[in-house]
Amino acid sequence: MKVYVDKKTFMCFTEPGEDREEYEIPVFDGKCKEFVEGHRYVPKENEWRREDGEVFRGEMLTYGKDSVEVDLAQTEYEKQRLADAENALAILLGGVT
């Protein structure tokens, strides 16, 4: 999946924007917007400094927002997708004569 990474914060976005660089990150395939934008991706040969001063070198992909909230958003997204698929199947089967 194509994501857009802020060059300073390394936070991920689903839309292009100013100071964002495009990357292909397969692990985000099938993931919702809130899940993707809850992560930080530090590419190889890059460094990110956390607010307490600790430095992390890429390549690193970790949660950038509270993991419980990020995971919950993905869970809800998958539940909705399943419900939509079941509804579509019900409609399809209901139309068979």
Binding site: E54, T62, Y63, D66
Partner: protein
Amino acid sequence: MGKGFKHGGSGGTNPLNFFVKTYPAETELKADKPKENTIGVITTTTMTSWGFYATEPTVPEVGMVWFFVKTESVVEFNALKKNAIQVYPFSAKQYVDSKWVEVAAMSYINGAWVEWDTRNFVFKSGSGFNDTVYKKLATNSSLTSSNYTVLNYSVSSGNTTLDLNSYANGNDYCPVAFDIDLSKFNTMYIDAAVSKSNGSDSAFAVNVVSEGTSNLGSNPIGTQLNPSKDGVRQTFNYNVKSITTTKRVCISTWNGRKTKIYNIWFE
């Protein structure tokens, strides 16, 4: 019995309130009852000198022991017999083969040895796995990946290293995994020597997946490493500050690569 370094050499009055001794193994150190305020360093390399520094010494000599100091310590002490200079030791390294290597250090205080190192180890070189830190270590038979065959890791003699040795076949996958409450920690550290294979860069991966999951291929959220120094021991760190729950941490290698892990800890 350990070998000691006494400031001031022969003659005169020693102004220091402590001693420094080396021991070849933890068993020898623990068996010794030295003078109060003795710092014991566990090493088989001759200690040529020692010093307390807040930053890496710029002109090290072979065998030198660097006592890294911070602004607080579980073994803080007054270094002088008269007056006071408070010292806050945190960790120790020795200059061996042109690089600094971590060595264990303890202080003999009130008739007992006190460890300097308060890091939360999941695996510690010389001690092995520490099941007081993680909730459960997954057995390899319970781990799967949709495209790979799971192999066994091994622990070297004396619990020195945790060895992930995968076969050359690209479908052989060698993981170790443990469940841990990451809400208490900000950073994960892995001290390891990582070897490339088949001309490929990346040599091992760290994945963080749902607690208790047996399918490592399920919703993996993790870090992919491309080590900068093939076969050289180095420390890697990962930000886990935003992870506020228990997760399963998986460390794996594949396709003929070998990863020798010395320590895994959290702060």
